[in-house]
């Protein structure tokens, strides 16, 4: 365990990933205290180029892009974490049950999981988003979470199925433990690192999914998120107006986020998956 921390500290990928995340996270958390205006406030004219007043210019509504970025990143992160959390919970529960129970339940749960994998979740996402009349960050996060869990479920199932046959699980069984207790104490700790990595990936994909559906205009109302910022920029022709500041920063931030999370993930992967490392 201590070794793992040491290795982590040496993994440049992990460190850079964390550094990026901390930087962005710090900006998101601190900036709104520095600049206490309402991000919705239309302080300037539309698409004012970067200036002293507006370090990143203004968007189509004449809002300060930098301030919006702070709030938008926050929302994106929120959706990502929420979606990641939900996807993780569903995926882990289904994966654990399928993997541990085996047999009939495994067949059922695996079939459901595979269905969700093969039916592009993005399609479901679109269909559900259209169906919902009022969309908030919460709802968007929940539906993303509810459609992206199968990858986690599948991986957790595989791990659980192999752990189930380990002797310590047998020992636990002949110690008379119940199913839930075995799953929680004997299996969960072993896949914890994996689950954590899955969470990171799910968070990244949650951020992406939010951005994607917001881009399609199916994002949350009354909310600034990186996706809705892009959506506005496109809808209000930032590109034609040459207002690069309205869409490049959110686009890059989305990429940056995913990048940081991917880095952290592959850093962790090297530690938990020794064979990958060279």
């Amino acid at each position: 365990m201590k070794g793992a921390t040491r290795v982590l500290m040496r993994s440049p990928k992990f460190l850079i990933g964390v550094a990026l995340l901390v930087m962005v996270g710090g900006f998101v958390l601190i900036y709104p205290f520095v600049d206490i205006r309402d991000p919705f406030e239309m302080v300037g004219l539309s698409y004012e180029p970067p200036s002293k007043d507006f370090p990143l210019g203004t968007d189509n509504f004449g809002r300060d892009v930098l301030l919006e970025l702070a709030y938008g990143t926050r929302s994106s992160l929120y959706v990502g974490i929420l979606a990641g959390g939900i996807a993780l919970c569903i995926g882990v529960v289904i994966g654990l049950l399928a993997g541990y129970l085996g047999g009939f339940w495994d067949n059922i749960l695996t079939t459901v999981t595979n269905m969700f994998i093969v039916i592009p979740s993005f399609m479901i996402l679109i269909l559900v988003s259209i169906g919902l009349n009022s969309r908030s960050l919460l709802i968007v996060g929940v539906i993303i979470g509810c459609t992206t869990w199968p990858w986690t479920a599948r991986a957790v199932r595989a791990q659980t199925a192999s752990l189930r046959l380990r002797d310590h699980v047998h020992i636990a069984r002949i110690s008379g433990y119940g199913v839930m207790r075995i799953i929680v104490t004997q299996i969960l700790p072993y896949i914890a690192s994996y689950v954590f990595m899955a969470f990171i990936l799910q968070t990244a994909s949650g951020i992406l999914a939010e951005a994607s559906i917001s881009m399609l205009g199916l994002g949350p109302y009354n909310t600034i998120s990186l996706g809705t910022m892009l959506n506005w920029a496109i809808m209000f022709e930032a590109m034609g107006a040459g207002a690069w500041w309205a869409f490049i920063p959110p686009a890059l931030l989305i990429a940056l986020f995913t990048f940081a999370l991917f880095l952290i993930n592959s850093g962790l992967d090297e530690i938990f998956n020794p064979k990958i490392r060279r």
Binding site: L127, S212, K275
Partner: protein
């Protein structure tokens, strides 16, 4: 062989079941929306008509035309029956066009754009990923973070940035559409040239992102394989590196095929948004406008089409894969 057939029989049955679920989701999910899409069509028609009965009459005609006056389950049955006859219904938004006809126009563009792009991206990504794993050193040090970075770009973000940079700012490429505004489809060089020119940017944006994603997967697969016992053993028997590397690539490539099957859904869906950004007349664009107009039949048609193609692709890849990789063949035979 019998077991093999049985395995695929099962697989096929399973695929069919998924299809049924997909069809059902496709029907019900968009119909969760509170509004009645007929309103939109009829509103224009009845604007200013003060005779209430007249208005009602027109409404009813259209309601029954679209079958929205029947209970949902009944509509579903009709939907399934029509599907079996190859009838995807009539578009609300482009009334009275048939969804089938709309999709027929869109499919060639989407397939023409995405299939080559995804395949090229996949192949290049794998080759580069394998190289990175093998070469390591500087190549890997630069390439690896780069592809990680690239793969962090969602398709549409990449499309957006490329459009802005190469289309709007530098003006190297057209900024949208499938062919130039002043040519008409025909078998002329002018037209074909124009199509290719317009193809470049959307194609590249999909290829680049796919390369990034695939390269990462391939790299770690290849590294895993490079560390395996058979590599050591082969080398200790004096096999030349070239040959060993070929073993490794092949073995690392094979799991990537399943990866391709599984990520097809994500890739296709992602590439659809790239279509929208480039105003490419493919399914993505139609889906986008269908969403705007709440055109259920068209939305259902698009999502169904995408889902079915992903399903079919998955199935096909699974079949092919079994033949390519003896390991999987064994696993398939043993599959419960």
């Amino acid at each position: 062989m019998r077991h093999y057939l049985r395995y695929f029989g099962k697989k096929l049955g399973w695929t069919f079941l998924t299809l049924v679920v997909a069809v059902t989701l496709n029907f019900f999910l968009p119909r969760m929306v509170p509004g009645n899409p007929v309103d939109a069509i009829v509103t224009d028609l009845v604007q200013g008509i003060s005779d209430e009965n007249r208005v009602k009459e027109i409404y009813e005609t259209f309601n029954s035309e679209f079958g929205v006056d029947k209970p949902l389950w009944h509509q579903y049955l009709i939907y399934v029956r029509n599907l079996l006859r190859g009838d995807l219904g009539t578009s609300f938004g482009q009334y009275p066009k048939k969804v089938k006809d709309i999709l027929r126009n869109a499919i060639p563009w989407t397939v023409g754009l995405q299939l080559p792009a995804i395949l090229v991206g996949w192949i290049l990504g794998n080759v580069l990923g394998a190289l990175a794993a093998y070469r390591r050193k500087l190549f890997d040090k630069i390439f690896m973070p780069l592809s990680l970075a690239i793969s962090s770009f969602p398709f549409f973000v990449m499309a957006l940035l490329m459009l802005y940079l190469f289309g709007m700012t530098l003006g190297w490429f057209p900024i949208g559409g499938a062919y130039a505004f002043d040519v008409l489809p025909s078998l002329s060089w002018r037209f074909i040239g124009s199509v290719l020119y317009h193809y470049a940017l959307p194609f590249l944006s999909i290829v680049i992102v796919t390369i990034g994603t695939q390269a990462i997967g391939m790299r770690s697969m290849a590294i895993y394989e490079l560390n395996s016992d058979y590599v050591l053993y082969s080398k200790l028997l004096g096999l030349e590196d070239k040959k060993v590397v070929r073993y490794v690539f092949r073995n690392a490539m094979l799991p990537q095929i399943t990866g391709l099957a599984l990520s097809l859904g994500t890739m296709v869906a992602g590439a659809l948004i790239a279509e929208i950004v480039f105003n490419y007349p493919g399914i993505g664009t139609y889906m986008f406008s269908a969403i705007r107009q709440l055109d259920y039949p068209l939305i259902s048609g698009c999502t169904l089409l995408v889902t079915v193609s992903v399903l079919v692709a998955n199935f096909a890849i699974e079949v092919v894969y079994g033949f390519l990789d003896p390991r999987i063949k064994m696993a398939q035979l043993e599959d419960k």
